[in-house]
Amino acid sequence: MKPWHIISIVALVIAVTTLLYYKQVSTQHTDIDALKQQALRIAPLLHNSNIIYGGDSNNVELLLKTRYAFAPKVIQHRPFSIADTVLEIRPLTDTTRIAASHILYSAADSFYIYRLVIPM
């Protein structure tokens, strides 16, 4: 068997499967998918941001208060949506940035924060 024959087969399988995967998942737009997508995109840049739209405000506030002794200001309630709360994190210091980063990370638990949008 020539190496290039095998490499061609492997490359073909990878290319076809990746295309099919792209087709399969690019149409998935659930809230959780959107959240995860944004978390991956935004988490590294959190120090530029100061607003988090949280889901369960009680949990988020409790987390911030107990772990970081920091109380976010709830600036908007949206009870009609699963993303029911907008939290403003200000002033933007090292502590609040880490707190925000932590909240974002906690979004990994899909029951914790449902939707998260951070204006850049």
Binding site: I6, I9, V13, Y21, V25, Q37, A39, Y105
Partner: protein
């Protein structure tokens, strides 16, 4: 060793090299173009160096094997698409892909070390660095397609490597192993979930194959050592594996004519790992959790029982066939009145080492076992599936028959 197998092993070397170059690029704040040029220069150097490595001549019929390989790989592809999730499972997107997203940004990558709770920023960086590097080359901000493609490629390379190594020794066993990998949900699932365990399994397997090639060419000692370094640079489990591997293969790796290659091979990944652990990584939760209570955990019989039952259940449920292969090779060794193969013993020693870590873990044991025993055993599975048939076939299936006849 087959020529194609050597190329696959060198691909493993290049993956590790790319992640190391990218890591130092981030640390030294090098422009991305410089990182790419350094990587390309390294690729050129490695390919020139490896061009002279001696390999077996493959005279197998081309079309039959290619057809078998194509069928096997497409079966894996079909199953992968069935099992794949958009972002992988929790560990994938909240640890590995999230780290990759951080590492993609040269200005803010160190923010990842602030997510201490549950995010495991102490994990080595081979996988996220490689995905970040590829993503920067592709110029896309979305890691999920790169991650999927990368993990899928590694998932394919494992059965392919085993098939290539086995088919000249035993055609039947080569097909059986390819069939097993192509239909095994546990293995394919780990790749589809985008976790680091399949990549680690690939490095374990590659190192085992490379060490077998040292008798053909001593340069393979450097490849083996570099792949061991790659395993350490992938996950913390790679560190005890590399130590055990060096202990079991000490007579080959540290032979007078090989030691120069071994040390030069392991130097770069090992030094990079040490630099990362000393400079950036926070303490590991398991290592940090060791104190006076460790002795109490070690003497708690109920923990041993729980670990044993979980291990037994995982073997029965997910790894019955590989476990049978290991047992069979031990049986063959007993019949031949010889020691089992080094790699078979290494698999068993690694299992014991992993189980010992469970005994002393400061994390809730039941939760720890439930969430990880299947994954850590999966890391060793491809190596077991390679080492066992390689041991009892030797050069042909007839040796396997002769073994039992000799035993009578």
């Amino acid at each position: 060793m087959q020529r194609t197998s050597l190329y696959i092993l060198l691909l493993g070397v290049l993956i590790c090299f790319a992640s190391i170059v990218y890591f130092y690029g981030l640390v030294l704040r090098l422009p991305f173009l410089v990182i790419v040029l350094l990587f390309l220069a390294g690729c050129y150097g490695i390919s020139r160096w490896a061009a002279g490595i001696k390999t077996e001549t493959d005279t197998s019929p081309n079309r039959t094997h290619l057809a078998i390989i194509a069928i096997g790989l497409f079966l894996i592809a079909g199953k992968t698409l069935e099992l794949a999730q958009k972002h992988g499972v929790w560990d994938a997107w909240a640890i590995w892909n999230l780290h990759a997203a951080y590492l993609q940004n040269a200005a803010t990558w160190q923010n990842m070390f602030q997510n201490i709770l549950h995010a495991h920023p102490d994990y080595p960086l081979l996988l996220p660095n490689t995905i970040a590097f590829l993503n920067n080359i592709l110029g896309t901000g979305n890691v999920i397609y790169t991650a999927f493609c990368f993990h899928f490629a590694i998932t394919l390379l494992i059965p392919l490597l085993i098939y290539l190594q086995l088919h000249t020794r035993s055609f039947i066993l080569a097909i059986l192993s390819l069939w097993y990998f192509s239909t095994d949900d546990t293995f394919i699932m780990q790749g589809a979930y985008q976790l680091a365990d399949v990549l680690l399994a690939f490095f374990y397997l590659s190192a085992s194959i490379a060490v077998d090639g040292i008798k053909e060419d001593k340069k393979m000692a450097a490849v083996t050592a570099f792949l061991l370094g790659a395993a350490m640079w992938t996950k913390n489990e790679g560190i005890p594996f590399a130590c055990l591997f060096c202990a079991f293969h000490a007579r080959t790796l540290f032979l007078k004519q090989n030691i120069r290659y071994t040390l030069s091979g392991i130097a770069l990944p090992l030094l990079t790992l040490l630099f990362f652990k000393i400079t950036y990584a926070p303490a590991n939760d398991i290592v940090n959790g060791q104190d006076q209570s460790t002795f109490a955990r070690l003497t708690d019989i109920s923990r041993y029982k729980l670990v044993y039952h979980s291990f037994r259940d995982a073997i029965y449920q997910y790894f019955y066939f590989p476990a049978c292969a290991v047992c069979l090779s031990i049986l063959v060794a007993l019949v031949r009145n010889k020691m089992p193969g080094m790699n078979v013993l290494l698999v068993l020693a690694c299992c014991l080492c992993y189980l010992l870590v469970y005994i002393i873990t400061p994390i809730d044991l039941e939760w720890h076992l439930q969430t990880s025993i299947q994954r850590v055993l999966m890391q060793l599975m491809p190596m077991a599936m390679y080492a066992s048939p390689m041991y009892f076939t030797g050069n042909s299936i007839f040796r396997f028959r002769a073994t039992f006849l000799q035993g009578r």
